[in-house]
Every structure is written in structure tokens, then in C-alpha cells.
């Protein structure tokens, strides 16, 4: 039977059967023989010296096997985690994004699983108890007596740069990880000096809590005989975790195995190694038994790496027609208490000019340590921040110059004829119909009929506003990826990939690609990921890289497989390889002779079957023992142009009596490249939008400025988007083809979130404008714009009250 091409089809997901029947397998679902349980005692202080840790009472408590501290860790000869915070550059992947710092060096401080000298944020793990049961471990943790000498804390990036600010690390004078200038600031300032209008404004992009639904969990084991550590734990990429563990534990990488079962949400923060993941494997060796830890939601709020938290001071110069002349920004990234990642600053500054022609751009970046949970890339990672600043500034400029908001964008958008276009920050856009996307968003959203709706709303006592944002993203992330495909004689095409799903449906989309290339049924395709026993190379899933890099490598592998099989088939039929036709998974020769890929695999290998055992938590035998014959491997290291882009419109209503908001309509026009599965791509846009709207309107990660205490530490206080908060959505996928990869993939994971806060804040400003508030306030509305924030904005006399 002929296999219809599946690329582009809205195929229901192949993996769903197990998830809807409760047979998903997440870390906490896994039990190994003899496992014992870990619990962590966490710091109640944001900043304090550790004077002493008395573990006697805890050790004597029922069921307790061991109590471990940072001193024990160092005594065993282990090292702090090297998170490699400075990412590969967005353009020249072989060098780090940040090459220099006015402070002398770009800091990278080893991250101990348990601190030895002092605690640096509320919730930092201080000691670990291992006991027979979970309850015994938790109860005993409460018996540990820690004497703290409390220090002043600082939680805001700019506060932390002040001369009298408390210092977190001796290595970091002024609490700076690095400070650097990107772009030609002198030239930018010259252009600003001559500009008709220079707008300056400070944007505080709020901190967000990841809130993946699966609380983090980790199961560690150690095999004395082979000296091998095993970590079973959900993540966004097993290989990165393996390398980080090996470095911390001071063993060669082959002595570490990381297994990643089903993972309940990623969004960025599960890319990096967590101290608890390191602690359970260390503890497993220390106590000679497998050690399991499952965090609860309260711990998640205190210790899951968090996102955003950047302050951007923007200066943009315009000519009298509203054309951008130059940008001179300052970016203060709140790194948190440990140097885990500088990715948001790298991504955000590279794409700072977004879809507009900006002749000169400069940004001064400060990466600042504070007494808060470390920050890492969170969905979009810098791109939403830059989009927000640019789009808000354009609305403000339109207001100041008396221009229409669409018109000022039209005047500044990069024309399609100008592609390929190299931005002032060095990115080269190869495709993207920026103007068409905006005009489509204007049309679909009914932008021009809005004033009628505003009037109707006003008659009901509501303030209604509309806002638009254009966006573009940059193809970054880990630059190296590998795919292996084996055609097995038993009728399976086996794929091994270095990326792994945290909900994106790879088992389906990978099958769609391979099915299309090889002409076989998707049911015959099996994807294996997330176990370093068979995944040697791979960067994991983030930055839209899975289908961008993985898709290209799948096509490459399939091409290799077809060529290998063609040679074998030609040999079998004793004919010229070029004379063979390949379709629907089989070769045909003259005389109605046919042979399938699977039959060829069978003839090629009579005895050997590669290691394809199911995930069973045990090391697999080395696969080299029986090399498969119909096998292909493709690997890539580098950058390929792929710039997801689009335009979005938000329409919002504000109740001036309460400050409550309702997003009444939302339009999203997204060029993700060729969607392999539109159902899945649209789902990605939905999810990103929910997170973006949450950040804009309800997700308050409130950390007390004096004490560093998190005041919103549960789902009762932290406003994760609920079903009722989602607006009616008009979503259209569009495509201006990229030639940068054979599947024309750009990426869809961050489409929904990238313009979201910008559209909301533009719509809010438009809604509140009617009350004359824009004239009264020179500062931005606080983010998130909760009812309190909006009410105070409406009813206060000046900025000081906000």
C-alpha cells in the first residue's frame, strides 16, 4: 500500500496512547530495588554565613542512613558543577557569546551541591538526609541544627551593583559576573545626539517561575564494580547532564549514565544540571544504595531555576518621520546566586533590533549576582524581552510623533527585497515577510474596526485597548547534534536522537519525517532518546533546535539509508543501482522484481541485531558488538539560518473600578517555516501564549526586597494561567521559505511567547490612554500588570505612587 507523505499533516500524536491511559513513565514513577529516600534541608535565609551544622539529632532519628553536608562532598574529592554559563555564540558557534568583560573575566563559579561557607538564596539546599522512607528523611531533616549568621541580602540587579551592596562572592567584586559593551556605543550616541526624538525608558521584565507540572525528581545509583554512576531524572537533554556530572564527580564521562524518562514539561530550566541530581548520585555512592528524591511544589518554587528578571534601559533615536536612527540600550541581567547561565543576555542582545532596520545598535550588558534563585533560559530566553522593549518603544514613539502605530512600524520594517539582511547585531535574516505578517495580523484582528468596539466597551464602563507586536527569533542553542537510523530486519526503523521531548511530540514528528523520506508507515518507526547508554552526542531540546537540526539530520540519514540499500538491492538484482526505483520503502527493478528496506536489512545481516533493548534502567551491552548494516549516522555542528517570525495582536478590556483585565481577543500570525505537524505547532503557540499572558498579567514572583523571601511560593499565590484566562485565539501559520535546511524548518516552540508581553502592554497602554494616564506617568506599568498594579496606575497621581 502506498504511504502518503506525512510531513505537514495534522497527525494525532503516536505517543498519546500511553499518556492518556496513565502509562507515561516519569521519574517518580520509577522504583529500583533497595532504593532509599533523600530529603533536603533548605535555607530560610537569603544570605547568611554557615557557622555550624549539627547533624547529631538527625543521624539518630528513626530510619536515617546518612546525613550529608557540603564538607562531606568536598572531602570526597568532588568539585562544584561547571554549568558552562557562557553559551556558544549565536553566529560563531565555536566561541563563547561573551568574549570579554570590563571586570577582567567572564565568571564561572563552581556550583556545589551543598554550600560550605554561606547560603546565598532562600531555599538553597544546605544538608541532605538519606533515610529508609520519604517521611523519615523529611522528619529527620527538620532535626538538623544549623547556626546561621545572617547577612544583608540584595535581590535586585541594579541594587546589587551599588557600592554598598552586600557581596555574594569574593570572586565577583560589585556582584558582577561580567560587564561588556556590544556594538558601537560612540556611534550610537552620536546618532542619538542628532535625532529628532530620543526616547528613554526603563523596562523591568519580571521574574517567572517555571512551573512545569512535574515536580523535579531524581534517582541516583552507583555500581561499585564498574565505578559507574547512574542518574535517572527528567531533563531536556541527557548528554549535557552526563558531562556536567562527570566533571563534578571527577570521573571520565563513560563512567556516568544519565537516563531521562518521560519529562513533565521543560521550558528551558531543565536543560541545566541541578544540585539535587548531583546529590543523589553522590549519596548513592556514599550509602551504597540507590537514592531517590522527589521534590514537592513548595521546593519547586524555591529551587527550580527561574526565568527572565532583566532590567533594560532603552534609548532609541528617531527622525521626524519616525524612522529609527540608533539604539543605545543597557541590559542588567539578574543571574541569581550562582553562575548557571548567561543565555538570556546573549540571545536577547543579538536579536535586539528585531524585525526593524536599525542602522546602529549598541548595548551595554551587566550580568549581576543577587540573593535569588539562579536564572536560566525560560521559553524565549531574551527574545521576548527584546521584543517587548522594541515594540513598546515604537508605540511610545508613535504617540510622541503623532503617528499611527501601524504606520511607524511599516516605515521601519525590513523590506522583503532587502533580504538577506544583516542586522546591526550581526544576525542575517534569510527569509520572512515582516510587513505581510503585520498586515495580516491587522486584518485578522479587525484592527481597523477597533474604535467601534472601544466605544461599545466604554458604554459598559470598560476600557478597551488593542496592541500589536512583530517578532523574530534567532537560531541558537547547543550547536552540535547527531541522529542515527537503523533499519531492522524485524520491520522497525530505529531512530536514536540527541534531542528529547518534554512534551513536543518527537515520536510523532520524527516518524512523520522518516515516513515521508522512506515511504514506510509511521507505525514502523521507533524513536529512542534520553539515555546516554545509546545516545553519545546531542544537545537536548531547547531554542527550537530539535526539528531545525534534528530534521535536517533525519533527512540526511534517510538519504544515506536509501543509497546503502540501493547498492545492496542492485547487488541482489544484479543491475545498475541507478536503474532501481525507490518508492514506498522498496526498490523495484525491471521484471517486477521488488525488495523492501526490511528485506534488504534481513539479507544484509543474518545474525547481528544492534542493541535496541527497551529502556530498562540497566546499562545496555555495547552496540559495537554487532554493527547493523543498514545504518546511517549524521552529525552537524554549527549554525543554520532559521528565523521564526510573525506578528500578534492583543485586545484587552480593563475594569477601571477594580483594575481587572480580560484579554478579549488574540491574533497570532506565525511563520515557523514548514510545520511538520500543524496540530503540534499550533499547540506550541497556544502553550507559549499562555505563559506569555501569564507573565504579563498574573505571574507575580514576588521576592521581598529587604529579606529576599519569596512571598508567592505556591499555586495559591503565583498566578499560573488557568483555562478561563485564555482568550479566543485566531492563529494562522504562514511561510516564507528558508533555504537553510531541507525541511524548511524555522521553529515553533517560542512563537506564542515571544511577542506576548509586548502585545499585552501595548494594548494596556492603549486602554489606559483614555484616562489620561499616559500623560501622568512617565514610567512603564509594572509587570505583571495585576489588578492592583493597574488600579494604582489609574488612581495614583504620579509615578512615585506606583
Amino acid at each position: 500500500m502506498s504511504q502518503a507523505p506525512l510531513i505537514g499533516q495534522p497527525l494525532p500524536r503516536l505517543e498519546d496512547q500511553r499518556f492518556v491511559t496513565g502509562r507515561g513513565r516519569y521519574t517518580d514513577d520509577i522504583r529500583v530495588d533497595g532504593q532509599v529516600y533523600a530529603a533536603f534541608l533548605r535555607s530560610p535565609h537569603a544570605h547568611a554565613m554557615l557557622v555550624s551544622i549539627d547533624t547529631d539529632a538527625a543521624r539518630a532519628a528513626p530510619g536515617v542512613i546518612a546525613v550529608l553536608t557540603g564538607a562531606d562532598y568536598l572531602q570526597a574529592g568532588y568539585r562544584g558543577i561547571n554549568h558552562v554559563p557562557n553559551p556558544a555564540d549565536a553566529i560563531e558557534h565555536a566561541r563563547p557569546a561573551f568574549m570579554q568583560s570590563s571586570t577582567g573575566e567572564v565568571l564561572n563559579i563552581g556550583h556545589l551541591p551543598l554550600p560550605i561557607d554561606k547560603v546565598r538564596y532562600v531555599g538553597e539546599a544546605v544538608a541532605m538526609v538519606i533515610a529508609r522512607t520519604k517521611l523519615e528523611a523529611r522528619n529527620a531533616a527538620e532535626l538538623i541544627e544549623v547556626e546561621y549568621d545572617a547577612l544583608d541580602a540584595v535581590v535586585d540587579a541594579i541594587d546589587a551593583m551599588q557600592p554598598d551592596a552586600p557581596s555574594l562572592w569574593d570572586e565577583a567584586p560589585g556582584n558582577l559576573c561580567f560587564q561588556t559593551q556590544i556594538g558601537d556605543r560612540d556611534e550610537a550616541q552620536r546618532r542619538l545626539a542628532d535625532a529628532h526624538l530620543v526616547l528613554k525608558r526603563e523596562f523591568r521584565h519580571s521574574r517567572v517561575v517555571n512551573c512545569q507540572m512535574e515536580p523535579r525528581a531524581a534517582l541516583g545509583d552507583y555500581d561499585e564494580a564498574s565505578g559507574t554512576y547512574t542518574l535517572i531524572s527528567g531533563s531536556q537533554g541527557a548528554v549535557r547532564l552526563k558531562m556536567a556530572l562527570a566533571q563534578a564527580l571527577q570521573v571520565p564521562p563513560e563512567q556516568v549514565r544519565v537516563v531521562c524518562p518521560d519529562t513533565g514539561g521543560g521550558f528551558g530550566p531543565r536543560t541545566f544540571l541541578y544540585v539535587e541530581q548531583l546529590a543523589v548520585v553522590w549519596a548513592a555512592r556514599a550509602v551504597g544504595r540507590p537514592v531517590k528524591w522527589t521534590g514537592d511544589r513548595s521546593e519547586a518554587f524555591l529551587s527550580d531555576y527561574q526565568g527572565r528578571d532583566a532590567i533594560i534601559r532603552a534609548s532609541i533615536g528617531f527622525d521626524r518621520d519616525g524612522r529609527i536612527l540608533a539604539i543605545d540600550n543597557e541590559w542588567f541581567g539578574n543571574v541569581g546566586a550562582h553562575t548557571v547561565s548567561y543565555v538570556p543576555m546573549s540571545n536577547g542582545t543579538r536579536v535586539m533590533t528585531t524585525v526593524y532596520h536599525v542602522p546602529v545598535a549598541a548595548v551595554h550588558v551587566s550580568a549581576v549576582l543577587t540573593n535569588t534563585v539562579p536564572t536560566v533560559p525560560y521559553r524565549g530566553a531574551g527574545r521576548p524581552e527584546s521584543t517587548h522593549v522594541m515594540e513598546r518603544m515604537l508605540d511610545l514613539a508613535a504617540h510622541a510623533l503623532g503617528l499611527d502605530r501601524i504606520e511607524i512600524r511599516r516605515r521601519n520594517l525590513i523590506a522583503h527585497e532587502a533580504l538577506p539582511y544583516r542586522t546591526a547585531m550581526g544576525l542575517t535574516y534569510d527569509s520572512g515577510r515582516f510587513l505581510d505578517n503585520m498586515l495580516r495580523a491587522v486584518e485578522v484582528s479587525g484592527w481597523h474596526g477597533f474604535e467601534t468596539r472601544r466605544g461599545e466597551a466604554l458604554a459598559r464602563g470598560k476600557l478597551r485597548g488593542i496592541g500589536l507586536a512583530n517578532y523574530v527569533e534567532s537560531p541558537v542553542g547547543a550547536p552540535r547534534e547527531r541522529i542515527e537510523i537503523t533499519v531492522l530486519p524485524d520491520g522497525i526503523v530505529d531512530i536514536v536522537a540527541g534531542t528529547q521531548s518534554t512534551g513536543q511530540g518527537h515520536e510523532t514528528t520524527f516518524a512523520q519525517v522518516v515516513s515521508t523520506c522512506l515511504g514506510i508507515s509511521p507505525g514502523a518507526i521507533r524513536l529512542r532518546t534520553g539515555d546516554t547508554a545509546f545516545v553519545a552526542v546531542g544537545g537536548g531540546s531547547h531554542s527550537d533546535r530539535t526539528m531545525r537540526l534534528g530534521g535536517m539530520l533525519l533527512v540526511d540519514c534517510c538519504t544515506q539509508i536509501i543509497e546503502l540499500a540501493r547498492q545492496a538491492a542492485a547487488q541482489r538484482f544484479d543491475c545498475d543501482p541507478a536503474s532501481l526505483q525507490f518508492a514506498d520503502g522498496e526498490f523495484s527493478a525491471s521484471g517486477a522484481r521488488r525488495i523492501t528496506l526490511f528485506d534488504l536489512a534481513r539479507t544484509l545481516q543474518d545474525t547481528a541485531v544492534p542493541a535496541c533493548a527497551q529502556l530498562d534502567d540497566k546499562p545496555l551491552p555495547p552496540r559495537d558488538a554487532a554493527p547493523a548494516r543498514l545504518f546511517a549516522r549524521a552529525e552537524f555542528t554549527g549554525r543554520i539560518p532559521a528565523h521564526p517570525t510573525g506578528s500578534a495582536v492583543c485586545e484587552i478590556e480593563v475594569d477601571p473600578d477594580t483594575g481587572a483585565t480580560t484579554v478579549v481577543n488574540y491574533t497570532s500570525i506565525d511563520d515557523v517555516g514548514q510545520p511538520i505537524n500543524p496540530l503540534i505547532v499550533e499547540g506550541q503557540v497556544h502553550g507559549g501564549l499562555a505563559q506569555g499572558l501569564g507573565q504579563a498579567l498574573s505571574e507575580t514572583c514576588y521576592v521581598d526586597r529587604e529579606t529576599g523571601q519569596l512571598m508567592t511560593g505556591s499555586f495559591m499565590d503565583y498566578g499560573v494561567m488557568r483555562a478561563a484566562g485564555m482568550p479566543p485565539l485566531q492563529l494562522e501559520l504562514t511561510e516564507d521559505p528558508t533555504t537553510g535546511n531541507p525541511l524548511r524548518v524555522k521553529g515553533g516552540g517560542e512563537s506564542g511567547i515571544t511577542p506576548a508581553t509586548a502585545t499585552v502592554f501595548n494594548a494596556l497602554a492603549d486602554a489606559l490612554d483614555g484616562m489620561g494616564t499616559l500623560e501622568r506617568h512617565s514610567a512603564e506599568l509594572e509587570m505583571p500588570a495585576t489588578p492592583r498594579v493597574i488600579w494604582e496606575y489609574l488612581h495614583s497621581e504620579d509615578d512615585d505612587a506606583v
Binding site: 499518556f19 492518556v20 517518580d28 514539561g265 495559591m716 485564555m726
Partner: protein, 164 residues
């Protein structure tokens, strides 16, 4: 220790557990039914939702002993052999799940919402989902799955369509 006797997914079970054992712990740890998940510690997220004596309950907030003598259905007990329950089927058809972690609780909450023909307008469905959090899907396809499942459960209920 206390004896807990339950009928779970049609099977009679009897176990002696510590008094403070929660129903979710009893299901996941004592019975090994790991399909039901724990997503929070404040009864907010609904990942642990199961059917207890015909009602949807958050099993993190019910003691196993309280439930004793009752009948529990978890996500593992919804399908009939290979035939998925209409709500399960609708989640697949509508792409109502991504990471799948909240899904069992969502499915059980919707199973309860649709125990009889229910209103299918957006506000009513969202009210029905108020106790369940999803971080991946933005709920749009979950809302669609509710309508989809309702159409299969109540094919002849004209009122269902009118309400949507």
C-alpha cells in the same frame, strides 16, 4: 497503621498503611498505580484527580482511610480493554496534551464534568477546569477535547450542541 479497603478500577484491595497515608500515596506507592500524579501540595493543580464514589476528588487531599469502603476509578481504569474512554480519545484527537503530566487529572476532571450532558460553552467548560492546571497546552485544545468527548458520549443530545 490502619486497614484500608477499596475497590480500585474494579479490583478489591485491602492493605494496612500508616494512618496519615493519603489516597494518592495509597494509589501510587502501595498499589503501584502511577498514572495519577502529584503536581502540588496545596490542592491547586488537580494532577491527582480520581473518581471516588462517583465524584471527582483530589486524591492528595483525601486520606486513604477516609476513602476506605469506597470505589475508586483512576486513569488506568477508564479504558475498556483496547478501547479508550471517549475523553481519552478526545485528548488524542484534539492534541489536548503535551508533556502528559497533568493529563490523567484533566481526564478524570472532565470525566466528572461530562457524567451527564453538560454545557459546552467556553465559560462553563473553563469553570469545570478551574481546579486543574496545565502548563503546556494553553487549555485551548483541552476545551476542544471536552466538546469532542461530549459529542461522542451524548450523540443524540441535541441540547449539547445548542449549549456549545
Amino acid at each position: 497503621m490502619i486497614d484500608v479497603e477499596l475497590r480500585v478500577n474494579g479490583q478489591q484491595v485491602r492493605e494496612s498503611v500508616p494512618d496519615q497515608t493519603l489516597l494518592i500515596e495509597f494509589l501510587r506507592e502501595t498499589l503501584g498505580l502511577t498514572g495519577t500524579h502529584v503536581g502540588c501540595d496545596t490542592t491547586q493543580c488537580g494532577a491527582c484527580t480520581v473518581r471516588l464514589d462517583g465524584l471527582a476528588v483530589k486524591s492528595c487531599t483525601v486520606l486513604a482511610a477516609q476513602a476506605s469502603g469506597g470505589e475508586v476509578t483512576t486513569v488506568e481504569g477508564l479504558a475498556r480493554g483496547d478501547s479508550l474512554h471517549p475523553v481519552q480519545k478526545a485528548f488524542v484527537q484534539c492534541h489536548g496534551l503535551q508533556c502528559g503530566f497533568c493529563t490523567p487529572g484533566m481526564i478524570m476532571a472532565i470525566d466528572f464534568y461530562l457524567r451527564e450532558p453538560a454545557p459546552l460553552d467556553r465559560d462553563s467548560i473553563c469553570h469545570g477546569l478551574e481546579g486543574n492546571i496545565c502548563r503546556c497546552t494553553g487549555y485551548i485544545n483541552i476545551i476542544e477535547a471536552v466538546r469532542h468527548a461530549s459529542r461522542e458520549l451524548y450523540p443524540n443530545d441535541a441540547a449539547t450542541e445548542e449549549r456549545s
